[in-house]
Amino acid sequence: MLRDQRVLEDLKNYALENCPSIIGYHEPTGEYLYLNQGVHKITGYHSTELVGKSPYDFLHPDDLDHVEKNSHQPALKGHRTESVKFRFRKKSGEFRWLESTVIPVKVEKEVEKLITITTDIHDHHLLKDQLSIQKEINDEISEIAAIGYWSFDVRNKEISWSEKIYEIHGIEPGTEIDYNKAINFYPPGTRLELEQAVEKAINKGISYDLKIPLINNIGQEIWVRTVGLPLIKRGKCIKIFGIFQDITEAVKAENERLSNIAAYLSTQNQHLKEFSQILSHDLRGPLSSLKMLFDELESDDNAELREVKPLIEDNLSQLFEKLNYLTRFTDRAIETRDMRCISIRSSVQKIAENNKSLLLDKEVVIREGRMDWDEVVYHQFKMDSILHNLIENAAYFSDPDKPERFIELSTVLKNNKHYLIIEDNGLGMNITTQRLKRKNRFHPDLSRKGEGLFLVQTLVEGSKGQLKMRSTPGMGTKAIVILDKFKNKEDSH
């Protein structure tokens, strides 16, 4: 028995000396009477250096009152105090975070001595501080980006939302929320999608990132982005956590952008359709006649048919011209990036050369007026088509009764807008509409079908420009092309 008591005593001493915490024995004033070896490991002091001294001599000035009020005084009143945190100056001079439990030793209700058990919480405390700072940062980011964070405990089905998520849902922060309540904010189709994503996260550990609509507590449809990341432990998903963001404004902006694109494409498609009909009709007409003629030649070798030979040649020429035009257009129209620096003067010269016989026949000269600019970055084929149609029209509708017939080319820079102007002193037309339609014709006495101007309008508007026609019968016509989306060569430097 005596031997057992001695072993037990040895064990106590061994535990006391090797305990990682500081075990202290104090006078009621706090003065150290005894400290185990743990003090050296934590503070750098040997117990002999501290015995006889007061702990207050080593506390951080900011923690003196806190320790006295929350630890020392209650202990003197006979209460055990726990988890009082403070900073203690080490032998090296640095302060270290410690946490103490104080146990009063009473003799007949009087506190005779104090026992303290002090542990080192420095690293833990710093980590907690950092986490607290990080949380503040997160909250700020969350507020700015309208992002909330959440978690779902798979085991007990508990859901935890940040304040922002409550706000997004339009409900009071702290309102009790469960899985069913949360999922019911989504419309049925979306609910199923989200449920499947959650199921995959739980069963297969697959994360999700969904952009889905939600009906908030006041019945408004909003769009949210919800990201869920499964937390796997021992091969099993125990928690899903993630972020939650109100993306209604972004979705609205995106929808508006798509709607604008759809409207633009719809207009372009309409232009393309009309253009395609022009070409289809112009090609099919001469082709049909040729087909009839060849059918006739096959069945009847009549000398009379020879009379129509020039007409066939003319028809064939029209057909090939349109065919070449169609081929060039379809090849190049899709090359939307085929923008290059174009000289208007050179382009007009080229077109004049190609229409030499027409200009000579009509005795029309091309001359220059005001030329604010010459070189532009534009779609080459479109520019050629615009100039070709405007110049060819002006030549066709020249006035044979006028002694001099001209087509005047001008380029004007006005209010940062670039104008290309083709003016003539021809027959003129009676234009009553702001926008041209495909079948508008303005010259009753001539055989042109008026589709050239419509084509010019289509090409110009396709590049977000504008065509304005000014004309007076008997005086002449002015075609004003506003090239909005192009760069003057000087501007590009």
């Binding site: 006649s289 007409l311 010259h443 009753p444």
Partner: protein
């Protein structure tokens, strides 16, 4: 009974060949009038709207013409008082669904024919027209 036919089309080859084919029906066709635009055709019809001998029983009408196109011609034709029944066959190279539907829905158009007009198609159309006129 012999009938009068009006060909209204700006395509001279079409006019020549269709006119030539119509000559093969001399026992049924008295006269063929050729017009290269809707305007002179309308002028002729207006002048002869009380003359049954010169007013046509069949009009072959093109859509796309330089001055007065086929559709505008039809609008103007409504204002006339034809002295007898006149069938209007619209004949065009247009395969645009818009034109075809419009022709089908028009009470003025008896038939829409797509070019090229073959001998066979013309024969069938004439046969059908003569049956309707009798």
């Amino acid at each position: 009974m012999k009938i009068t036919v009006c060909l209204i089309d700006d395509d001279r080859i079409f006019q020549f060949l269709t006119g030539k084919m119509l000559k093969e029906y001399q026992e049924k066709i008295e006269k063929v009038f050729h017009f290269y635009d809707g305007a002179p055709a309308l002028e002729y019809l207006r002048e002869n709207q009380h003359n049954a001998d010169l007013f046509p029983e069949i009009i072959f009408l093109d859509i796309s013409m330089p001055n007065l196109n086929g559709w505008d011609f039809l609008d103007e034709f409504k204002t006339l008082n034809p002295p007898k029944q006149t069938l209007i066959y619209m004949i065009s190279s247009s395969v645009s669904p818009e034109d075809i539907t419009r022709a089908e829905e028009s009470s003025q158009i008896d038939k829409y024919l797509v070019k090229p007009l073959s001998r066979k198609k013309l024969k069938e159309s004439l046969k059908e027209a003569l049956e309707l006129l009798n």
